[in-house]
Every structure is written in structure tokens, then in C-alpha cells.
Symmetry: D3
Subunit: 288 residues, 6 copies
């Protein structure tokens, strides 16, 4: 309705995302996959839910004193994935992220389950072999196999660590896992149980200009602040703290990121989606 | 992400609406207004909710043995309305509908509250002074004033009747109102209390080729089938019956229509939005 | 705020109930008791919920073509009951209903669990020893004991039948119970399994001028129409049918009634409370 | 707590299922799989939900005038499936159902998504090559592939039809699908669109003593009666009608059955689970 | 039911409010207006919701070691407002508050949307031209216009600041707004972004005996503690902190106050209403 | 299905509880009683809800660096209680707990309302007359009578204190009650209003080897973290803090405990049940 575009809004994008892929610096990609979820499925509706509620947010951040209006990002919409087919879904994610990376842009995936981080990190690490992963989560996700499967949301950080010798993984806020996973977190990755802000402050200081990929599982936050997730784990940090964590990463060379495991059906109030949307806004403002 | 459009979906339209306004025959217009609602507000989220769940529907109708793929309609998105300003909101609706009518297309408004039918019918009646209104609703909506206001969801059908001497109003399924409204329904409009299918069958027979505007308030259906509405009224018809009603209008010269009062917040199951989406699909297939 | 009463509303009564007990013909009594409930408790919030949503209703009934404005009823509010003490609670109900009956008025109790009918019927039967009970319910409620208890929602109709030799009990719509209860329903009470309207039509014809007490358990209606109840039983009648049932009792000499088992917490849409409120309105108009 | 078993209840079985597999005639098997679901996942919680609410039901059926106490069935609990792995999950279902069939018992699977019917029917058809499938559903589920996949909830009835030349498929209540599916339903299976009871009555008459497998997708019922499902489709039959359908199959030689697509998260009132539980009870009483 | 008042409760007031307006010191006024809300409407049900849940509270405050029984307040009920008519609604609020102020009492409005503070403050400031506003909110609400409107929940604090030169506005906890609003908050009002308790402690010290009006938007609290609001903004303070804030105002000369934006429909658990009710109790105990 | 037990799970126990009562050290007992609840009933569904969601937890605790696999506990299931009969219900609880204590095991009751602690503590105190009660709660629960009743959830800690002269009661986090209760808490029990961790640290130090019974009312936690409870009281501690409290009791000689007042119906997200389940796990690991 070309002549009426001033009074009509076609809304399915995050806030006022740019309409031009070519000139955008960051690209939001919705990845509605939740086939390997072990407890409550539904994160396939996360990306669209986050977009929907973004309408309730301002573009300006009083924390960072910057506005999205000065930023440049494109919302690519949701991938069309074959339901229940894990291998093909991961390949499709790889294909899209690869293109974004090749085009010199920063991919920002909205999950979906945590397994989607594997192809995304894989493509980013292809360009940056010394990639540092900053992982915020309630769950360690470093099993070797889960119910016999190598590819699972419960094994994803281990698979990521195995991408290459240059890849380092820091894990924050972990408060659930098997004993073996916490051992792995002491010996292979660098895991900080339960705590987030203290350890993050130290880690940030020593990263210098290394390329960073940030992966936030919304369940790092306590279920009080984010009940809309598949495997809520009581005892997490506050919404205020995860916002602080994002602000502490201001200045890092972030070359990729994702936000996963938002499952709207379990939160009638939509607070989880709103928190996720606010985290997306702040991350967009922090990406250099 | 032009090169990736085959695997990425930008979804904020009703099912697979056409991408070209110019060639479309019907134009869907979201009208997120609910300022004069007297009981439970929230129908402003109706249009987007209907679009969201349309993903769960097929394009093919086994009732009509036709598919939307053969139809031609454009989803114009939602109007941007000034919250709480009734007069300006109605003017804005008029302006958009007028353009659609002038362009030779059929306007199909998704409410929002029932008052939005007034400017829409007004514009359609400007072109078709002998317009027949087929009104499906639990409430009579024919008061003269409501809490002192002339413009209200509770007065809208009376205002519509007053548009011009050529305008006829048929009311079906009415099961709530003041005594005066039922009197008005006997003398000025043609009101059929409680019943829908029987009376409709008779009315349809005598309409011939007169231009018809269909306005469906979702609460004509029983709250069991459509709990997500502002003023549910027990004792209504079934989802099956309202679908039948739509099919009975197949063959009429429908030149405008709307579907109003879907308020998603009161139906966690989303059944109301789904029923509305299915009604939109069937109406789109019935519009000649 | 005496001087401002025209613009301020103090609302905790059913619709526009009379403010004067002395002149009222019918007295609504809220009975928030649910201690003997076997499955899901919460009907203690039924009476207030019904009052709350009554705001969404008109006073005029297009079915009966009468308005509450012409009727005369008083809303006495909720009884203050000792939580968990069955015997004292029942005594308190008796005391209030007795007074209402002695004052020549018709008591109309809003439950609460079904056991509250026992003291209410007891007091009414004291005045009318040839009382006929018309009982609408999904459950037979005619066990002799339940988990060893004589006083239970599951035994209430049996206790009522035992009040005196003149008391007759007709049961409609029953679709759940033990085999023994259905036997009892063939030999002692007159039970019509599953069906409501057909049997009711016959029964009404032969009641003549006998005094009638009507007890409606909202779960006689299908859970689709009334999910907000403690023990929903699929396969019930529609909202439309229970309204019809009420209208069929127009003309009977109704001297007492109750509506029980509305448990708002299980129905986010509030449709159950609305249906109950509408039934209360229609019953008020039917009481002679 | 052996000495206290009289006062303690270990409840995770359907009503009062037998405790002995060896002597049971029917075996309930929970199949919590929902990986290929295309719209809303969550049916993995169906089987346990149905067991939970069965506590609210009686063992006696006033429809059939029989009690489960006279019946003999065992509740085997839920299968432990590898999340997201379709092929292995189906093999596991096959393995369990095969054992049940070999032991001369009737398997009764509780889904989970509809794809679980494929391995179940496969095993039953191995014993009864002339098996008749009675399929109740809103969706045709007879695509050849879905998003490129041969194994999907949307293709399951086609795969079932392909099991062998002796297998006949009757489909009732279908009201959603692609045009091709309705064609297939005219030429390959015997599909009755929208209607259930009329066609079923005719079909039952001609089945004689042929072995029958019944598969009920809960969404054959209207969302008003069963909102807790993944892909609700407005315009379905009532709870009363699906109960009638079960009763009409009384007398058939039922050798296997399933009830699928109950997704509790979308129905806060738990009415869907209750309807499913009641259908399970009635089916158990109808199985010869 | 005069003779039975000891056992019957007519409950539509906040806790055990006084029954006599004349002698009350504070007057609670329900203001069910939400017409200019920009995101999720529904705060019109806030006042009644707060009253409803107040039943779950004690009258005694262990924080302040005082009981409402020693306090004196009257609950005036809800204003009857013309739906959707902003100007008339504001005039009606003015009229009622003016009367309360003239009668020498402290008005305490329960919203409803934030715009209702404008007429309330206006009337109080007429008596106290040097009024200090203590404003607790997630949103700055100091735009000049919003979608072209001067009168909006998003402009209300600016309009309040403009009431007169003597009026001072302090804003606490603000974490959302446009850049211009935060500028305004530095230059015209005194805005403390994000923080509440620290700044409040300082401000309280310098207020001395100046008359104070307290306006609390429930969304100053994090959505975890108050999800039932129209525009939740993650990253807020805790319920414990807002209670502390109220206690820090003990000793101030509070001459008016309000609590706004409670929208019950978005919080199934009713925690938001309960927090609001507790804040009302504590405020009532703090008002001198 | 003996030969298939490796692939089928019969789940109605807490996590992987032992299957042998005889060798278990701790015995979980579900006590589904909520008859004396004064505000919102529903805690009868607490025990089963806690078991259900325990599936989403790991057996390993990263806080205590121990796993339930090394622990030994038996889940006895739910008691079968006579609905609404307080006296018999308490006797039944006594009978079961007595047996567990006599068998040298630690009873761990899952409520249900708080009154269930009375018989449980009674039996434990029979063996340990110098028992110390550590009570975590929002409410004092030390009235002498409540609505005339001696036995009530609101009087339970007073009744417990009266069990014998050797019994000491420490109360933490209390933030609601009558003035008299706070007096009682200063003179008879040792009550710490509002605070938990500070006072607990001190108390733990002086308990030495005295036998300890821990009773946790989930509402000691703020409604943000545990909305699913009967009488939520805003201003409580976090989930993180109650976990800390449990860990601080590590090393005490715990001889009995309970966790009460989880009412699942008020928390759609199931976060409350999950927090409760996690507390049960941590308590099981802390019991010596």
C-alpha cells in the first residue's frame, strides 16, 4: 500500500531494524529449532516472541547512553527449518551464518534451543580461529553424549570447544550439570559455577582485542525473571545482573553472538520475552 | 538478505498474502483500536494475533474446495493510531479505507473494537448507497448514546444505520442488550435474536445482487469457542455454525467486511485467534 | 463520600441488587466453602467471582423479555465461615437460610461446594415438607459415605433425599458415579443419565404447584463451557442448553435455589463465572 | 513402605490399572515423542497428564454400564526416547509394541505426536495383515513428504496405508489438508470430511469381524473441548460426539489403538487431558 | 440483612476500611481509566484487584510496628468514568479529588493508568503550591507530546511539572525513555536513573516539612515482582526495595498519593496485586 | 512389563528415589492436605507437582559437590486422606511418621498446608524431646486460635512449641502476622522478622549436636520466585538465599523435615515446583 506507508506499519522485525541488508553491520537471524530439547519444548516461538514485544521498548538505552537509531542492524526473519531433522537444520544454519560472516557482518542468532550455537560458532570460528566464547547459562552443556546423541543441547559447548585448538570457552553462572561436567569445566573449559559478574570482570580484562562470541542462554537468569524457558533452574542471577554483564562486555571485539532458549508458552506475562528483547537491544549497542 | 530469501521467512502477514498491493483484489487492514471498550480491553492485539496463528492453517478450504493460492489479497499491516483519541483514530481509518475503495478493492478490516466498523462502512457506503449490512454479534450495539457518548462500540450499528436511507442492517445472533435495543431491532434494523443460521438462510435469498458488507463480532460465537474477547456472552453459536454462516454467504456481492473484538490475552490456548484466522480465510474465499 | 455517590461506585454486589433487605423478594447468599472437595478446591472464590463479572452483563433478558430492574433481590454478601470446620460451617449456613425463609423470602445460595445445598434445602424443607428438588449435575452425589464421611459433596443428594418422606429428588444430566449410585437413582431418586432437556420437559409438566428447590452444579455443563470447576466431566450439555433448562422452569413455584462449584482459578477467560452470572440473572427472573 | 501400603498411594498409573503385566489384556504405553511437530510442540507431556487427571474420574461408565474393575489392563509407563532422534524413537516403539502383540495383548499407545502410530500399526499389522484403521482427526495427514521428510506427523496415515495391501484406512472428521490430500482421501483411503458419526455408523456395519486399529487424534474434537493440542483446528465435533463415536465401536474386534496429540501446556483448565482420560476409559471398556 | 451482619461480609473495600467518610483521614479512590495506554491495556481492573487480594493481608505491619486498626481511612469505591473520553474522565477525577482535599483529607488514588495523577496532583497543588512530587517509575513519562497528544500517560510528569513554578518533581528508578527525556530529567525535573534507595535517602533529608505527593508506578519494580502491568521493563528494583522506599518516607508530610498501572490480567498468580495491596497498607501507615 | 523395564519408565517418584524402603535413610511422604487453608487452597497438589518437575533436575549438586546417587532415600507416595476431616487426617499423618521414626529413618513430609507439620513434629519429638525447630516462613503462624479453631495452619507453630518443654522454635524471615504474634515471637519462640541468612548463621553455631527438625514454608521466598502458594507475601528472600540457608544447615543433626504450601495452580511456569524440588534435593543431601 505504497501511498499509505506513512500510516500503516508492517511489523515483524525487531524494533526499527534497517530495511537494507547491504549496509547493515549486524544481522539478526531467527532460528526456530527445538527438536533436541529434553524437558519442555517451545523455544521455536522465541524469535518471533522477542520481535513482538520489542514494540514495548524504547530505542534509547539510558545505561549506555546510545540509541539503536545510531546503530545499523538488519532483521533477516526466521529460518525455514525441517521439523525434527537435526542434521539438515544445522546445515541450514551454517549456510546462512557463513554468508553473513563472508559479507563482513556480525551474525546475531535468536534461538531456539542451544544446539543452534554450534553451527553459528563454527562459521564464525572459521574466520577467527582464536575465537573466545563467553557462555552464560544455568547448565554446563558439556556432556560428551546425551541419550547416546553427540548433537544435543546438552553437549553443545563441548562440541564448540572441540571446533579447534584456538577456541577458548569461558562459562559463567553454571549451576546445574553432572559431576563430570564440572570437572570438564575445571580442566578443559574455564567454568565459573553460580557466579557471573565477579568472574566476568576478570575475564574481560584479559581478553584484549581477541575476537569474542557471546552466547546467552536465558536460563542463566533466575526463573523469577525468566520463567519462559525450557529447563528453568532456580537460584540464578537477576535481570539487572545480566544487563550489567552485557554492559561489562562493552569495548570487547564481539564478532558474533546469540540468545537462546526463550520459550514464550511458559510465561503468560511475557516478561521473559521482554527481558530477551532488552538484552538484544543492549547487545546491539555493545557490538562495535 | 536478498540471496537467502529462499530459506528465510519474514512473517508478519496473514498466511501467504500477496506482496503486491496493486494487483490484489482484497486488502486486509489491521485496526488495533480499543479505547471505547467498556469491559475488558485488549482487542488492539487482535490483528497481529490472527496473523501469527494463521501459520497453523492450510491455504486450502475443504469446505469451499478452493485455495487462497487462487485468491488475491494483500495484507497492509496495522494502522498506527493515536492511543485514546477516538475522533482522530476514526478519521485515519476512513482515510485508509477510502483509498482502498477508490482503488477498486474490497477492504477487510481486522479489529480492534466494533466502533471501527463505522468509518469502514461509511467509506464503502459512499460508493454503494444501497449497502446491506450483515451483522453477526452477541450484542445489539444499537444504543443512541453510551455513558453520554455518541461514538462507542455500543452504539456503532445505530450510527451505521444512520449513514443513509439506503443502508439496511440485518442483525443475527443478538442475545444481549437493553429492552430499547431489541425494540429498535424490530422497528429500524431487522434483528434476529439468538438465532443465526435459520434467519440468514432466508435473508441471503432475497439480497440478490445488492452490495453487502459483512461485520462479524467474534463474540457471536459462544465463549467456549471464543473466550478471547472483551465482553463474552454465554449461550452463543458454535465455531461450526459461524463457519456455516460464512459459507451461506458464498455467492453474495460482498464489497467490504470486518472481523472484530478478538482480544488474545483472555485465551491462553489461542483458539479464538485460530477461529478468527479460519474465518478470515473462508471470508477471503467467499468474497467474489 | 455521601455527596459524591453519583459518580462513585461501591461495587460488591450482583449487578444492581437492591440495597434494602426488608423489601427484597429473593436473597443472594455467598457461601465460600470448599473443605470437603475431593479433586480441585477453589470454589470458595466462586461467589465473589460471579459478582465481579456480573458487571459485563445487561439487566435485561432477551430470552424472558424481562429486566432485573422489575425484579427485587438483595445481595447479602459472603458468609464468614470457619475454614476446614464442616459441622460449624453447615450450622452457620442453616442459621442464615432459616432467617431468610422465616422472613418470607427465597434464599439463593452461591457456592462453594455442593455440600452447602444440604443445610439450605433442610431449612426450606422445614417450611415446605413436600419440596421437590430439581438437581442438575454431572455427578450423582448419592453415595452413602465418601472416604468414611457422611457429610460430603459426594453424598449430598442422598442426605437431601433423607430429609423427609415428602422430599422428592429429580436428577438431570448425570454422567458420572458408581454403579450403586445409578441404581439408587433408579430406585430412590429419579435420575436421568446424561440427558437434561427432554426429561426436564416431562417433569415440569407434572409438578403443578408443588414447591420447588433448584440446585445447579455448574459441571452439568460441558467443561468447554465451564472449565472453572473442581471436577470437570467431559460430555456435558452446552451453555445454551442450561439456559434453556432455566427457561423451562419458568412458571414453577420456586422457593429456593443454589448454583454451586464455580472455581474461578481454573478458567483464565472467566467464561465460567460469566455463564454462572447469566444463570443467576435468568433464575432471578424466573423465580415467581 | 510395605506395612503402610494401605494408607499410602503410589500414583503414576491410569486410574487403578492392574499391577500385573502377565495377566493384563490391554497394555497402556506412554510415548512422549513430539520431535516432528510442525506447529506447537508439547505432546510429550500428554501421557503423564492423562494419567494425572484420571484421578478425577470414576471407574464406572454410565454409558456402557460397565466398570474398569471388571476389565484387565496394565499401565507400562512411559518409553524412554532419545530426544530429537526420529528413527531410533520409532524403532523403540516398534520393539515395545511387538512384544505386547507377541504376548497376545492389545497395545494402547498414548501420544505424543501422531507419527507414533506408524510403528504401532506396523507391529499390529504384522499379526493382522487385513487390519482396518479407523482414523479420527482434524487433519488428513496423508502427504507424501513434509518439508522433504517421509517420516512426519503430516505423512503418517499415508505411510500406514502403504504398510501392506490388506490394510484399509477410514478417515473421519477431516477438516484440514491440502487439495491433494483430499483427493488421496477419495481414491486411496476412504475419507469423510468434517463428519464423524454418520459415516462411522455405516462403516461399522460392514466391518464384521475384521481386526480393527483405532487411532484418535484429539484435535478431531473442536478446540473448545480440547484446546490442549498442537495444531487446533476450529470447527470440530463435540466431546459428546467423540464419546458417542467410541461407543459406536463397541462390538468391533479392536486389536490395537492409540490416542495422540494431547499437549497439556495449552490448556490451563486441564479439560483436554480429562477428555482424553475419559476416552481412554471408554476405549478400555470397548476393547473386547 | 441487618440482623445477620455479624456472620455475613459485604466485601468490596480495602481490608477493613472505615465505614464513615466524615471521620476518615485518608480516602482511597479507585480510578479505572486506561484509555491512553500505548502497549497493554487493562489497568482499569487494578483498583478492584487490589481490594480483592487485600483479604490475604494482615492489618499489622511488622516493618512499621503499627496496625491499620489505629489508622483511619475510607474506601470510596471506583469512579464511574466515560470509556474512551479522556477530557471528561480527567475532569471527573479532579472533581472528586478536589472535594476530598477541601474536606481536609488526603486523597489516595488507585489507578488505572499514570495519566490519572495529573488531575489528582493538580487539585492537591491548588492547596499546596510548593508541592514536592516523589515519582517512582521505570519510565520517564516527560515527553512533551506522544503521538501528537498532550495528555498521555507518557507525558504526565511533564504536565505535572508545568502545573506551577513551586512544584518540584523528583524521579526515581527511571530506566526507559528517549534521550530527550533523560535530558529533561537533568535540567527540569531531578531524575535519578535506575537507582532508587540511595537517591531517595538524600532527597528525603532535605524535604523538611514541605508537602509531598507520592506517585508510584508499579513498574518501577522489576517484572519478576510485578508482571501484571502494561509496559513491564526488565531490570527494576525488588519488592523488598520498594517497601524500603515507602518506609524511608515515614516522617514526611505526605498530603496526597497514588499507585498506578496495576493490570491484573497479565499476572495469573496475583502477586502484582498483592504487592500493590501491601504498598497501599504501608503507605496508609506512613501518611501522617 | 518385566522384560522391558530397561526402556520403560514408571515415574511417580522424586528423581531416582530408591526402590527399597528397608534400606533407605530418608523417607519422602506426600501429604496432600489443604482443608484449613484460609486464602487460596490447592497445596494438596504440591507433592505430586514436585515429583513431576524433579525430572528437569540433575542428581548432582554443584553447591554441595555431592550427588543423590550417593544418598539413600525412599519416596513413599501420597497419603490417602479423608477430604475435609482435620482430626483424622492428622492422626493418619502421625501414624505414618511414627512408623518411619520407629524404623530409624528420617521423615521428610511434602505438603500440603502447614498444619501437617504438627503431627510430624509430634512424632519426631517423641523420640527427641530436646528437638529444635528451624522454621522458615513469611507468616508467624503462632496464633492461639484462628476463627475459633485450635488446629489451623495459622496456629501450627504455637501448637508445636507446646508439644513439650524441651522443644525450641526458631523462626526466620517472618514478615506477616498480628502484633500479638510478633510479641509471642520475642517471648516464647525466637523470631527473626524479615531476615533469614544473618540470624540463621548465628543460630546454627550454637545448636551443636542437638536434633533438628526443619520446616520450610515455600512462602518465605518472595512471590517472584514462588508465586505458586496459597498466601503469597511480597518482600521475601530470593531463591538463591533459601538455597544458601539450606547449605548453612549442612552439618546439623537433622532428624526430620518438611516443605509445605506449594500450590501449583497459581504458577503456570512451574517455577515454584522446580524451586521446591531443588530444595528437596539439597535437603536430602544435607541430611546426615
Amino acid at each position: 500500500m505504497q501511498g499509505l506507508d506513512d500510516i500503516v506499519r508492517r511489523k515483524n522485525i525487531f524494533l526499527n531494524a534497517d530495511s537494507d541488508y547491504a549496509t547493515a553491520k549486524v544481522v539478526l537471524i531467527g532460528v526456530p529449532m527445538d527438536w533436541t530439547v529434553s524437558y519442555r519444548p517451545g523455544s521455536r516461538f522465541g524469535p518471533q516472541g522477542i520481535r513482538d514485544v520489542s514494540e514495548g521498548l524504547e530505542e534509547y538505552s539510558p545505561y549506555l547512553k546510545r540509541s539503536l537509531a545510531e546503530s545499523s542492524f538488519y532483521d533477516a526473519g526466521n529460518l525455514i527449518l525441517p521439523f525434527g531433522n537435526v542434521v539438515e537444520s544445522l546445515e541450514l544454519i551454517s549456510r546462512v551464518v557463513r554468508r553473513v560472516v563472508e559479507d563482513g557482518k556480525v551474525p546475531f542468532c535468536l534461538g531456539g534451543e542451544h544446539l543452534i550455537s554450534l553451527p553459528a560458532v563454527g562459521e564464525v570460528a572459521r574466520k577467527y580461529p582464536d575465537l573466545v566464547i563467553l557462555h552464560f547459562d544455568a547448565h554446563a552443556d558439556v556432556r560428551d553424549t546425551y541419550f547416546g546423541e553427540k548433537l544435543s543441547h546438552a553437549t553443545v559447548l563441548r562440541r564448540i570447544k572441540e571446533i579447534g585448538p584456538g577456541v577458548d570457552v569461558y562459562q559463567f553462572g553454571i549451576r546445574s550439570g553432572e559431576a563430570e561436567e564440572f570437572e570438564y569445566g575445571q580442566t578443559v573449559t574455564r567454568m565459573y559455577p553460580i557466579e557471573v559478574l565477579g568472574p566476568l570482570e576478570e575475564v574481560v580484562l584479559k581478553l584484549g582485542s581477541r575476537p569474542v562470541y557471546v552466547t546467552i542462554d536465558i536460563d542463566v537468569v533466575d526463573p523469577a525473571f525468566a520463567p519462559g524457558t525450557g529447563t528453568p533452574e532456580p537460584g540464578g542471577i537477576t535481570a539487572h545482573s545480566i544487563l550489567r554483564a552485557v554492559h561489562m562486555m562493552n569495548g570487547l571485539k564481539i564478532v558474533g553472538c546469540d540468545l537462546v532458549e526463550v520459550a514464550p508458552a511458559y510465561d503468560q506475562s511475557r516478561s521473559t520475552e521482554l527481558l530477551a528483547a532488552k538484552l538484544v537491544r543492549e547487545m546491539l549497542l555493545v557490538i562495535p
